[in-house]
Symmetry: C2
Subunit: 102 residues, 2 copies
């Protein structure tokens, strides 16, 4: 498998971020050909009440690196990437690499 | 669903880290009751050759927060957490929160 992990920094306006992510960005990402599984998680404060390191974690899984590359380099992938500037101004860390279920 | 995302910093000795993770830590984590899905991913350098922000991403999924809490507070969860000091000295960012497949 091949995995894209997107770690979004805390936005200035969390409500606006979440609304855009749900209504615009996730639907765009879902259109990327070859996407096999897509989860989003909202980290909660830790046991001591500390703010989590990131606001949102998105995990997108593909069959392999070729499928990921083909999907992301097409128009759907470009549209999803282009949308980042509409809501992710606080920054996002993208991690891409091979993955496996253990 | 409920998700634990573990983001491991780059270790001093990546080979020793990976060997410990595969042979000791992953098997300990797999024993945590209630664990439904467990993936690990090794981020690759980006298109410009920059080192990724983290060395390894582990995603552990549970049915819900109660299942996560029960699993992690038992002896298997304690054993997995206790093992972190044996290989994760470079640091790890843990994110826990509700998740969903989209």
């Amino acid at each position: 498998m091949y995995q894209l992990t997107a770690l979004y920094n805390h936005p200035a306006d969390a409500e606006a971020f979440d609304k855009h992510y749900e209504e615009v960005h996730a639907p765009l990402a879902q259109k990327v050909p070859g996407l096999k599984r897509f989860t989003i998680s909202h980290p909660a404060p830790d046991a001591e009440g500390n703010k989590p390191a990131f606001h949102l974690v998105a995990v997108l899984e593909f069959e392999d690196e070729a499928a990921f590359g083909a999907g992301m380099s097409g128009p759907e992938g470009a549209a999803a990437v282009a949308d980042l500037e509409n809501f992710a101004g606080a920054g996002v860390t993208m991690l891409t690499g091979s993955s496996k279920q253990v």
